[in-house]
Symmetry: C2
Subunit: 427 residues, 2 copies
């Protein structure tokens, strides 16, 4: 609109020059002042808040971070401002991913990488975040539009691509490896990958990428009937990877691969997706800012308000070659890691006897026992907590499929994934 108004002004200028009779000049000037007023109106638009250089704990209404920095004074987080150093990748910007992105944006995360290939429909409006006027836009573009208005301090990178294609997978991995944001960072260029996709194939691809990069990630999911969901922490080599054990869905035996059956549409609720996104980002904050207990697995059964939790060890016979590599590496460095952890604990114990960190315990925070936590071996499926059922065949059954297991080449691996999926779909 600003361009059009500028053109209009120059047209008026030309007209004035071509008029020999100066009696008309007053009329032209009146019209020009109207156009100038319109130009100033057009510039107004929605006001965006300016960037904030440092996070302040000052208690004033104009400080967007005061209620977050207060976590330090409350003794919950040691150094909240560290959040600006972290990069989080979110794969799938749907009902869970978009809300997770908004939560991290409002928390002031340093950098967000967003991946999705889909566009918005009115049928998506029964979940939080996207607005009806964004229908037709790609989910990534609409998310960047909304998130950059909410918090201009967050560095947003958006990738409108399908990670399950060969080209998409390459771009995905390269973007995770990019260390421009924090060149001194160890490992990949991101601190955590959040999987918020709605199908089995995409999860297997995120799993493949994270195993290859030795990248910690969190998986999330919501059932087709909209009333259960889960989050899971995956540390390559240390916990089960997504190929080690079949995914679990609470109180539902629905095969996730059928999510997009012809003519059938899955149910969804903003409540269930909001709760799963909240639990996922809460676990993310605990993991990044080192407070509380990071849950290895947390289920949500909405019908019963039941929240099962468990742990899963990696499968030494996992079909994923990159996972086996990570397992080997984890075992190799285990003695050194254990010794370092022991030394750190002893040093902290010594420090605490000298000067207790939270002597006052002003907020009376007390420790609750881990009565519900079980460490479940991936092989003993009978040992699943009550209310959990396997959604897909077990890893052992997976092995019986005719796909070769020894490939080391990435393209072969992807080809294998696709063949295994086809075999599963043919059941």
């Amino acid at each position: 609109m600003e361009v059009e108004l500028k053109d209009l002004l120059s047209d008026l200028e030309n007209l004035k020059r071509s008029l020999s009779d100066p009696s008309h000049h007053a009329s032209i000037d009146k019209i020009r002042s109207r156009v100038e007023h319109l130009t100033s109106l057009a510039k107004c638009g929605p006001v965006r808040r300016s960037k904030v250089k440092d996070m302040s704990a000052e208690v004033v209404d104009s400080n967007p971070y005061s209620r977050l920095m207060a976590l330090q004074r409350m003794g919950i987080v040691d150094n909240y401002e560290r959040i600006r150093d972290f990069s989080v990748a979110i794969v799938g910007i749907g009902g869970v991913g978009s809300v997770a992105a908004e939560m991290l944006t409002r928390c002031g995360i340093g950098r967000l990488l967003l991946y999705d290939y889909d566009s918005l429909e009115l049928a998506n409006m029964n979940r939080l975040f996207f607005r009806p006027e964004q229908v037709g836009m790609t989910k990534t573009d609409a998310a960047v539009q909304t998130l950059s208005d909410i918090n201009p301090d967050v560095l947003l990178e958006s990738y409108t691509l399908n990670i399950t294609t060969v080209q998409g997978f390459e771009t995905f991995v390269a973007s995770l490896e990019n260390k421009m944001f924090r060149p001194d960072k160890e490992g990949s260029g991101v601190d955590l990958v959040l999987s918020c996709v709605d199908n089995y194939e995409a999860r297997m691809v995120v799993n493949q990428a994270c195993n290859e990069l030795n990248q910690t990630w969190m998986e999330s999911g919501v059932s087709e009937n909209a009333v259960s969901g889960h989050i899971q922490l995956l540390i390559p080599g240390e916990t089960a990877c997504f190929a080690c054990a079949p995914p679990l869905v609470v109180a539902s035996g629905v095969d996730e691969r059928t999510l997009k059956r012809e003519g059938v549409c899955a149910a969804s609720l903003p409540t269930t997706m909001g709760v799963v996104a909240g639990l996922l980002v809460q676990n993310t904050l605990k993991y990044l800012l080192k407070f509380g207990h990071v849950s290895p697995y947390l289920g949500y059964n909405a019908l019963k308000d039941y929240f099962p939790t468990m742990e899963m060890k990696p499968n030494p016979q996992c079909s994923n070659a990159a996972c086996l590599e990570c397992q080997k590496e984890y075992i190799l460095v285990k003695p050194a890691r254990d010794a370092a952890a022991k030394a750190k604990m002893e040093a902290e114990a010594l420090l605490e006897t000298e000067s207790p960190v939270h002597a006052e315990n002003e907020w009376s925070i007390s420790v609750v026992e881990d009565c519900e936590l079980d460490r479940t071996d991936f092989r003993s499926s009978d040992a699943l907590p009550e209310g959990l059922v396997h959604e897909l065949p077990s890893a052992d059954e997976f092995q019986k499929l005719p796909a070769p297991q020894q490939s080391t080449n990435l393209m072969d691996d992807l080809e294998n994934l696709r063949r295994q999926l086809d075999a599963l779909n043919a059941d």
Copy 2:
């Protein structure tokens, strides 16, 4: 802007008429066509979706209700469209209330009543829903702006008032009693009241109004350190009211009355508030649409991912006169209600042996045992589930305060509330 553009066009028309030389008319026409183009651009603005007369289950991208109506096909809800008949009042449009309002709006609730007296600040931007460009607006105005864009089918009523003032309380009660939306409805004009306020006094006022109206409500809260919260169902006469037993806060002994201490600002997180709002609205949907188990109390300890649950019976010595009235009424109609419930159960059992409703159990929904549910007597505070502590003095201690207990007049009751609060604050 449209007015300005119209004035501009009439000025151009006048100028054209005053120009004797027709050679200038082409220039004027060019300028006029530019202004007409600008007028059409100005009209574009954000496109709002049109109202939808009936909720359809048709699986097309343009149907905003397809994923909700799918809950019927999945066997979760018998009649989803009933949601359009319900009215829900939300008191407090902050970090929990605003998200609860958005969830209910996206679910297509019939009518929402919103109550708040506060205005938006940048310091509120660390929670979901409100946007920085709305800073300075009242929370009710900003909420109506956003919610009416999201779903024009919902009837929104907003009340910018403080329910803890005498005038505010009267307007609050009158608005709950108004039955214009569904004149045939039994009881008050709303189906449920959700309390999403951040202080003790406002909760006691909601409690007073709901006891007087015999109105079922749900209470919610988030702790000052941002890492725990709870929701609670209150049915006058049947469960404990808010005055029967002191409020509970999980793993935190912080006195809620201290929430707004001078110079101190409470911490808050979009995650905790999003989870609490999600659990609250999920419980609301289960209560209104009659599916799953409606939780009487559900806590959320974010540090441990621990979710305690319990039930509380009403206190026969409750200090609230309206509560005692509801208790009497509940006991009076108990035999009739029990007989009706028994007859209904027997009829359903008969129906099920004739033709099972969910014979296929396509989604393999299985029942999970209520291992965690305890029915706790309000008097036996030692019997609280692990991780729960009383946040305020017990009802018995409350009774020792110098406030009279036998008042029946509403204004006396409010005066008593205020005096009791003052006594507590003076501790």
